[in-house]
Amino acid sequence: MGTSVFYFVAALSILFSLMVIFSKNPIHSILYLILTFFTFTVHYVLLNAQFLAVVNFIVYMGAIMVLFLFVLMLLNLNKENEPNKSALLKIVGVIAGCCLIVTLIGSLKSVSLNDPLVLRNPNLGLVKNLGKELFGPFMLPFELSSILLLSAMVGAVLLTKKEGNI
């Protein structure tokens, strides 16, 4: 067993994220994105970050994905107005992405971070520990993020209103 679970889940997340950007139908993209987020939840559980795993499950796979699916079904897209880029631009984009991977991995090769990741404090990512951190030193950013969410909600309502009613 050992570390093979990580490599299996990592391969799955790379595969599903490739399917997100290469599938033709946007609905299929969203469904593959849900699977990708599920593999990320498994990664968080493997890192023993249980609070983040639950939040990722609820926020991303619940709220954001429902929002994406709802908007996509609201827009009533047909096959004929499915936009498509030319093949040359696609090839150029893929080559640029490969160059980015090679550059980042090549620059990180010189930094040797090969020591295995061991959890020294077993309750590092539990709710009790993170709650103490969140309501202690990070009190002000936590309250500011509530204002951010409120303003985003007001902005979304204002943007999608029909013109003339404002």
């Binding site: 493997l46 980015l100 959890l119 951190e133 969410l149 902005g155």
Partner: protein, 109 residues
């Protein structure tokens, strides 16, 4: 739960960096190659998630809970961003009857 998780650890930190790099680059490729605005948005979400995973891995590596708090803030930010961005897409679709981003090319100047 803890015993199960401890048996599964021991992955080098560089492999987490490689995984996050690959998924971030997949997101960049998605932004560069697609013209559907919603798929571009989903690629941005992929990039945000790659960064989240890397922050969590470094937080476990340096035994510091601040990294996981930052991930929580990034998730709140992503929720706000998705709400505003999708409403902009709905408004664009209502005005142009399409979500092709090349319709918006006059925004360049």
């Amino acid at each position: 739960m803890n015993n199960v998780v401890e048996n599964l650890q021991g992955v080098p930190l560089s492999h987490y960096i490689w995984l996050s790099t690959i998924i971030f680059s997949i997101g960049v490729v998605g932004v560069l190659t697609r013209r559907n605005a919603i798929v571009i948005f989903m690629s941005v979400e992929l990039m945000l998630n790659a960064v989240n995973l890397l922050l969590t891995a470094f937080s476990v590596h340096s035994n510091d809970p601040s990294g996981q708090v930052f991930v929580f803030f990034i998730m709140a930010l992503a929720a706000a961003e998705v709400a505003v961005g999708l409403s902009i897409i709905v408004m664009v679709y209502r005005n142009t009857k399409s979500i092709d981003i090349n319709v918006l090319n006059r925004l360049k100047w």
